[in-house]
């Protein structure tokens, strides 16, 4: 694959999705297998959340892949399963035996669909009855006998009568207001909070009595609405009353195919007033949902791979690979131990051969380790290639024109990392398209090309991989972010630096919009994105220029299992610093360290004063030998801030096998993991980010 491909989302120029079908089929097969096992083991009377969530995730993953690769029938069925499962995991519905039955039957149907897409023979799968049953169950009603053979008619019957449970039509009266235009802020709320519903002014917004009236469709209850509106208008000035049925949100005529009410599932409908957006969105969704598999949905059929292609890969379980990696880790430790003992022999000529052998062992061990680690590495293209399809659909729904440019798809990343980074990246890309890229007319008016561009770049930088999501949209609005932060009760003084203002979008509860999409993302906010990336040992950086766009850079370690470290001695202990965080080190001379404000200590390094962190004190390290106590300072950096760590001595640089401390012991502050040294001692790996944050307090 080329290092850089440019693909207009209108087509898939340059990307042949079929190369990923095989991976998708394998993945989907695993997910369905897991789901079936869990469904079979599910105790309907006392289902635990863990299992329900896990089952939901299986359906969710299959749906995401199917939608990406264009298997509409699979996506349709999994979407309906997901809707039902979502209600179960949220405890909106209690699991019942018929639910488990229909989910199992759907799993079988999915397997058949997938087999067909893989080119195996088999009758086309009629899923109408399954879909209808799940819809009915998801609405909290009993399904009619699911076994009955299903001609076309029944599919429509339950749906038409169903309406949409929980959706209410209300008339909201606001006033009297000094400035009637204040009421427009309510409409603004509905635009900002996707799942809130829809709002339309009544009386053309100009009633004679100075009151404003709105017709609202929402799932929220009155209290929730009043709480929200309360940000803008006093509660006593708002009256909420049910609206008569005349306002017809049951648009589907009896017997007609069920129509997704635009208000109930707005999907991407952030810009409700965008030309063509809401109508097109509902239409498109309905269109794909209605295409029955029986008529031969235009889903692509995977090419059956040539025999030669198949033999070039070998499927093995992740457990086996992980076991291999673990063993190599142990081998690395054994080798380091031998090398240490062998150093003493190097001088003696009779043992020169042994020393040479040890040197060879070291080289071979390192090569073996790299080779084994690379088994788990997969190219970023596997993630990136999900996006053209997703963006194309999203752009169409929003009425926007977006081009996707990807660079560095060949950059490899650990499989575990790829799986965990896919959702956060999807969210970031969606965000760029939703909120960054302007509508074509607006772009033209600003002198920009009609097509917005979203650029995805993956690259290696030192021991990390950096993934950048960049758009040339409108950028972040400093004033609006500050205002929104204050509305949400977040302290946000005007004096905040730009970078700090941008990072407000990561504050918990800042982006609360819950967006349900075809591809991914139920209720994932930017705070969750940041949290997930941090949990992977990564960091996020935002840059933005109003009017020119924004860039989000995600920095991740290459793998979670091995790390380049620098070992330092402190008292009786040895600690590991991630090599990437080490800037420099120097000898401490008397008078260098100054005390400020009672207990704080700083050291001057060239023209900069750095906080001094005494590791001996932080970890209350026992000490016998005072000969070189705290003689060396190591300057380390995290999140752009530097501190100087006081240590006794630098012991050396080495690759360490990271062992999870929490899994084996418990969470320790300022420590990110542990490793076993060549001499068999356990050394803690320091969490430099946490030490840097500590120094700020």
């Amino acid at each position: 694959m080329a290092e850089s491909t440019s693909s207009p989302t209108a087509g898939h120029a340059g990307i042949d999705l079929s190369q990923f079908y095989q991976v998708f089929f394998e993945e989907a097969g695993e997910n369905l297998e897991q789901m079936e096992q869990m469904l079979l083991g599910l105790d309907v009377a006392a289902a635990d959340d863990e299992t329900l969530n896990a089952i939901f995730r299986c359906a969710h993953s299959v749906k995401g892949g199917a939608a990406t690769f264009g298997f509409a029938d699979v996506a349709e069925l999994t979407h309906q399963m997901e809707t039902l499962l979502d209600k179960l995991r949220r405890h909106e519905l209690a699991p019942t035996a018929p639910m488990v039955d229909v989910l199992l039957q759907s799993g079988d149907a999915l397997k058949a669909q997938l087999a067909r897409h893989q080119g195996q023979d088999g009758a086309s799968v009629d899923t109408r009855q399954l879909l209808a049953t799940m819809r009915t169950l998801a609405e909290g009603r009993d399904a009619q006998a699911p076994k009955a053979p299903a001609p076309a008619a029944p599919a429509a019957a339950p749906a038409a009568a169903a309406g949409d449970s929980g959706l209410r039509a209300l008339e909201i009266t606001v006033g009297p207001l000094e400035r009637p235009e204040q009421a427009d802020q309510l409409a603004e709320l509905f635009r900002e909070i996707t799942d809130l519903g829809s709002i339309e002014p009544l009386d053309a917004g100009q009633a004679a009595d100075g009151m404003r009236r709105y017709k609202v469709q929402t799932r929220s209850n009155d209290d929730e609405l009043l709480d929200l509106f309360g940000f803008h208008i006093a509660r006593e000035q708002i009256r909420i009353a049910p609206l008569g049925p005349g306002y017809g949100f049951h648009r589907g005529a009896p017997g007609a195919p069920r129509e997704e009410p635009a208000a109930a599932d707005p999907g991407y409908g952030f810009f409700a007033d965008a030309p063509g957006a809401p109508g097109a969105a509902a239409g498109a969704a309905a269109g794909s949902a209605q295409a029955p598999a029986a008529t031969g949905a235009p889903a692509p059929r995977a090419e059956v791979r040539a025999a030669g292609g198949e033999s070039s890969t070998l499927r093995v379980s992740v457990e086996k690979v992980d076991q291999l990696i673990n063993l190599v880790g142990e081998l690395v430790i054994t080798q380091a131990m031998l090398a240490q003992n062998g150093k003493a022999l190097a001088g003696s000529s009779t043992l020169q051969a042994l020393a040479n052998g040890l040197a060879d062992l070291e080289r071979n061990t390192r090569d073996l380790q790299e080779a084994v680690m690379s088994i788990r590495m997969i190219p970023m293209s596997l993630v990136f290639n999900r996006f053209p399809r997703m963006l194309r659909d999203l752009a169409a729904k929003l009425g926007k024109k977006v081009e996707l440019v990807t660079q560095g798809e060949a950059t490899e990343l650990d499989k575990g990392m790829v799986e965990k980074i896919t959702d956060p990246l999807t969210h970031l890309v969606r965000n760029s398209c939703d909120h960054g890229i302007e509508l074509p007319a607006e772009r033209l008016a600003r002198g920009k090309p009609e097509h917005g561009t979203i650029t995805l770049v993956a690259s290696h930088q030192g021991g990390s991989i950096v993934i950048e999501v960049r758009d040339d949209g409108k950028g972040l609005d400093r004033a609006r972010l500050l205002a929104k932060a204050r509305e949400r009760g977040i302290a946000a003084p005007d004096s905040l630096a730009d970078a700090e203002v941008w990072s407000l979008i990561f504050a918990p509860g800042f982006s609360t919009a819950e967006q349900v999409t075809d591809v991914s993302g139920r209720g994932v906010g930017m705070d969750v994105v940041k949290k997930n990336i941090t949990a992977l040992g990564g960091s996020v950086e935002i840059d933005s220029a109003a009017g020119y766009g924004m860039s989000v850079k995600v920095r991740l370690p290459l793998t979670l299992a091995i790390m380049d470290g620098m070992s330092v001695g402190v008292g009786d202990e040895c600690y590991i610093l991630p090599l990437g965080s080490v800037v420099e080190s120097f000898q401490v001379r008397p008078g260098m360290v100054r005390t400020i404000g009672g207990s704080g200590r700083v050291v001057q390094v060239r023209d900069e004063y750095l906080p001094v962190v005494d590791l001996e004190r932080v970890f209350a390290v026992p000490r016998f030998d005072y000969e070189h106590a705290s003689d060396i300072m190591v300057v380390v950096e995290s999140d752009g801030a530097r501190i100087a760590l006081l240590v006794d001595e630098l012991l050396g640089q080495q690759q360490v096998v990271v062992k999870n401390l929490e899994a084996n012991y418990r969470k320790v502050p300022d420590v990110s993991g542990a490793t076993i040294m060549g001499d068999g001692r356990v050394a803690l790996i320091l969490d430099v980010g946490s030490l840097v944050r500590r120094s700020r307090h």
Partner: protein
Amino acid sequence: MHTILAVDDSASMRQMVSFTLKSAGYQVVEAVDGIDAYEKAGKGDFQLVLTDQNMPRMDGISLVRKLRDNPKFRSTPILVLTTESGDQMKQAGRAAGATGWLVKPFDPAKLIEVIGKVLR
């Protein structure tokens, strides 16, 4: 008020150590070797012992061992202040029961800091 037993066969060294400790507010009793030190230790009340290693009659590590055998000094901090910086000697001191190992020449401020830390 803490009282420290300072042991060294060199008079100039004893003076310097005494001066440093006294200026930091400690009371000091001096001893010239291990045997002298052990006798004085039996009679007085010391919160810390600071001893040289290489001395006639009884060296520092032997003194440490002897003091540790005496229940009265089982938990009294004992620091060794010596020119010896070899790992083997340090380990021997540690095995004998010394609390810490300092190497001459010493920085007076550092000596006070270490003693403060050990006595806290």
